[in-house]
């Protein structure tokens, strides 16, 4: 048997949540080692739409999302990089009366829970804000302090900061097996043996494979939300625009390119790290965009892609301690809503590991809900 590398905490997975967890632990003086099978930010964390969104969150996620937004508003000081973050607002638009009812019901629900960050925008104001949007839009629900950031740059900033605080980050290391021996975790990888007191599972679309080794089976689906980007266009849009009953996520970046997403899914083979774009579904996406922004008909698509993400059947992630093992923690299953939560999840994991508790309500995210 070869050398064994020891650490107090080992984090599996170098996405944003893993990097943020490692950064927070290292900052608190914990000896932490992160294992990433490809390179940091290879999948969901590096290639997502970069939406920094509190809008339309699952009710259970709202407190976490608002706490994370506090960190985002200070992101430059937090990780010594502005992460390309800009506050531009995110808005779900109502294409018809039924959409309008959905959005107004949502706002009423939020207000009855004491949340005020989602506001109704009248049709006339929507058209003033976004002159190029189709005239039939009936209004929208906006979160004015939402925005967007550069996902790869953000993930790298957390990684860099983690390293500055002393975290050891190993890329190209695939975990084969995890076993518990004498109150410590023994992690068998293609690059040798690692050992730690605490283990954190941030393995994203592969996290169920880790959890299954402790009998914590979870109904995780590996999905690949597809994105398209156009060539540069004259500036026409500040706000991130989302659909209500139709899948649409639409944003013009500072460099003029337009990012189109919305949740249409690619074909995914997570064992080979590959995705294949589904052009039939993308055609549907293109139709929606052309209907909401008629001038986009002439926009030139220069690329399409999909990162592999973990989706849970109830639409919310797994965050918290293991249901069966001590010193084991999970944070995964964030598909389409994880990027904004990255900063706060790192803090939550650090608190759970170092003090056994967090101030934020994480009970709904416990892994045992699937058992």
């Amino acid at each position: 048997m070869g050398n064994v590398t020891n650490a107090d905490v080992i984090v599996i997975g170098g996405g944003l949540h893993g990097s943020s967890t490692a950064m927070n632990l290292a900052k608190a003086g914990t000896q932490v080692l992160l294992l990433e099978k490809n390179y940091v930010g290879r999948h969901a964390s590096g290639v997502n739409a970069g939406g920094v969104r509190t809008l339309s969150r699952h009710m259970a996620e709202v407190p976490l999302s608002l706490a994370s937004q506090q960190i985002w508003s200070n992101i430059q000081d937090y990780v010594d990089d502005d992460c390309g973050f800009e506050i531009c607002g995110q808005m779900r638009v109502a294409e018809n009366e039924s959409d309008e009812k959905i959005l107004k019901d949502r706002m009423a629900l939020m207000q009855s829970n004491g949340y005020t960050h989602e506001e109704w925008v009248e049709a006339a104001d929507v058209h003033k804000m976004i002159p190029s949007i189709v005239p039939t839009i009936q209004g929208g629900l906006i979160a004015r302090h939402d925005g967007a950031a550069d996902p790869y740059r953000t993930t790298l900033a957390f990684r860099r900061k983690a390293q500055q605080y002393g975290a050891d980050i190993r890329e190209g290391v695939t975990v084969n097996q995890v076993t518990k021996r004498n109150h410590s975790w023994s992690i068998d990888t293609d690059a040798g043996q690692f050992q730690s007191r605490v283990l954190v599972n941030c393995a994203g679309a592969w996290a169920d494979k880790i959890a299954a080794q402790f009998g914590e089976s979870v109904p995780l689906t590996a999905v690949g939300p597809m994105m398209l980007v156009t060539t540069r266009m004259p500036h026409f849009l500040n706000t991130v625009v989302l659909g209500t009953s139709r899948a649409l996520s639409f944003k013009q970046r500072a460099n003029g390119t337009v990012l189109i997403g919305g949740g249409h899914l690619a074909w995914v083979d997570r064992n080979r790290d590959i995705t294949e774009l589904d052009f039939h579904a993308l055609a549907d996406s293109a139709q929606t965009v052309c209907e909401v922004f008629p001038h986009m008909r002439h926009a030139v698509i220069s690329r399409g892609w999909a990162g592999i993400e973990a989706s849970m059947p109830d639409g919310i992630p797994v965050i918290g301690p293991s249901g069966v093992e001590d010193n084991l923690f999970h944070a995964f299953g964030f598909s389409l809503h994880g990027f904004q939560l990255g900063p706060v999840v790192g803090e939550i994991m650090k608190d759970l590991i170092l003090s056994g508790k967090t101030d934020l309500p994480i009970k709904p995210f416990h892994i045992s809900r699937f058992s």
């Binding site: 019901d105 249409h264 074909w267 774009l277 052009f279 993308l282 002439h298 399409g304 598909s335």
Partner: protein, 483 residues
């Protein structure tokens, strides 16, 4: 709802490999279609051979060019279905809606998107010119020699004003010779082929001297040298100008020189056009002699992706004559896989085509070694633009490696290089070489950009009008959003 056309074999590209393969497949009774991005068949090498305005003055372009007429005519007169002006932007397998196990091909003609299904796909996508990143290569007035030759072949257009040719390789001499035939004055020919390679090439010289390239090449070079100021060796070449090209400066025999010029044609060889193959998932291999990526295929054109085949220069640069026999060879293999030929029939055809192929490629090793582009013109430094679409310089790429970027895909995320509309055609090899240079590792270790569909740009409107089938309407998956 529309009915989707279904074929046994779809060939992408109507150059020598694609045309020869199509003709063969048709004779085996196979339902074949050729998707050709160009309006007229012939590929780049025989571009416009049946429509060229120069057909009344055949001596300008030379016999080798016109010899392509035979194949193009045979192709056009065969009953092979050809879709002209068709840009293929996607080939999908797992999301294909075909009932049989077939690929789905997305392509556009006249800004209208279409879908077809095919059991086998033969990629005969040819080659494109290697990028030639020198300071000022993005100035108006600077273009690739191959693009200039295309204009000559298809429209009889020649550059006006002071013309300088620079680079290395047989094609550059051929173009110089064709311009001389057309009465175009060439101010200077800057031959960037490094000096002193010949002595090491003696082991390959015998094959070269027996090859079809030898006598023709010798004659060409002699004629060009007799009429044009050929300067060699060349280093530190710069295209200068404010709004457009004004002069070319360079060092030769340790002397700094300058030539005033309106046009500079650059060329340092061709490399396989790999984007479609790579996006489909064909494994790439770094060819260290030709300094380029090559989609891996076996001698019969099979790739690691079942029923995706490669032929011609797209499968490794070997020239037009070889491409024709490779097309026929791969057609034989596909016919065998489709059950139209027995194993014996296939093997005997293969033996025959291999002989032709061996003859066609004899001697290539000699000039592949002789004309391997000089390192300084492959691995630029300083402010030389590497990625033209996003205007990223060599220095930016090199510095990004220094701060921890290890590969081309991370480089995309850092600098956006290779993410413009050319999808890396102009920068992929350069970026790989620069990262290899800075890291002190091999190009294979660095790897290539991961390419994605659409491999050619299309408009959102085109995509939106993609014919919908019932299956596709039902298959659209949406994630539920919370209310």
């Amino acid at each position: 709802m529309s009915k989707v056309a279904h074929y046994d074999v779809a060939i992408v590209g109507a150059g020598p490999a694609g045309m020869a393969a199509a003709i063969s497949l048709k004779t085996f009774g196979i339902n074949v279609v050729v998707l050709d991005e160009n309006v007229s068949a012939g590929g780049q090498i025989y571009r416009g051979v049946t429509t060229s305005p120069l057909s009344s003055k055949p001596q300008i372009l030379g016999d080798d060019y016109w010899s392509g007429k035979k194949l193009v005519k045979e192709f056009l007169e065969s009953s092979v279905e050809r879709i002209a002006g068709a840009t293929v932007w996607a080939v999908s397998q797992h999301t294909s809606e075909s009932e049989q196990s077939s690929f789905e091909i997305g392509y556009s003609v006249n800004a209208q998107a279409h879908i077809m299904h095919a059991k086998h796909v033969l990629l005969a996508t040819g080659a494109h010119e290697r990028p030639f990143p020198i300071p000022g290569w993005t100035l108006p007035g600077v273009m690739t020699a191959g693009a200039a030759q295309t204009l000559l072949k298809s429209t009889a257009m020649v550059p006006s004003g002071r013309l300088v040719l620079a680079g290395s390789g047989p094609l550059l001499y051929l173009i110089a010779w064709q311009y001389l035939n057309a009465g175009v004055k060439i101010e200077a020919f800057l031959d960037t082929t490094p000096k002193g390679r010949i002595p090491q090439l003696l082991p390959y010289a015998f094959d070269f001297m027996r090859s079809p390239y030898f006598l023709k090449g010798l004659k060409l070079v002699r004629e060009v040298k007799a009429h044009v100021n050929v300067i060699t060796p060349i280093s530190d070449m710069v295209a200068n100008g404010q709004e457009k090209l004004e002069s070319v400066t360079f060092k030769s025999a340790s002397k700094q020189q300058s030539i005033e010029a309106d046009h500079l044609l650059l060329h340092q060889g061709v490399i396989p056009n790999i984007n479609l193959a790579q996006a489909i998932g064909v494994t790439l291999d770094w060819n260290d002699l030709l300094k380029c990526w090559v989609p891996m295929s076996d001698p019969l054109g099979n790739t690691n992706v079942e029923r995706i085949h490669m032929a011609g220069d797209a499968a490794g640069i070997a020239g037009a004559w070889a491409a024709e026999s490779r097309g026929q060879l791969v057609a034989t293999e596909i016919a065998y896989q489709l059950g139209k030929l027995s194993l014996d029939q296939r093997d005997s055809s293969v033996t025959a085509y291999r002989k032709v192929y061996a003859r066609a490629t004899r001697g290539r090793e000699f000039f592949d070694r002789l004309f391997q582009p000089a390192k300084a013109f492959r691995r630029p430094t300083g402010n030389t633009v590497v990625c033209r679409c996003e205007e990223i310089t060599a220095q930016q790429v090199r510095e990004t490696v220094k701060i921890g970027c290890t590969g081309p895909n991370q480089m995309k995320s850092y600098l956006r290089c290779g993410m413009g509309p050319c999808q890396g055609r102009f920068c992929a090899v350069t970026v790989t070489e620069l990262i290899a240079d800075e890291r002190g590792v091999s190009e294979s270790e660095v790897g290539h950009y991961r390419l994605r569909f659409p491999t050619k740009p299309l408009t959102l409107g085109e995509l939106a009008t993609l014919p919908q089938t019932d299956a596709s309407i039902n298959a659209v998956v949406r994630l539920k959003k919370p209310v």
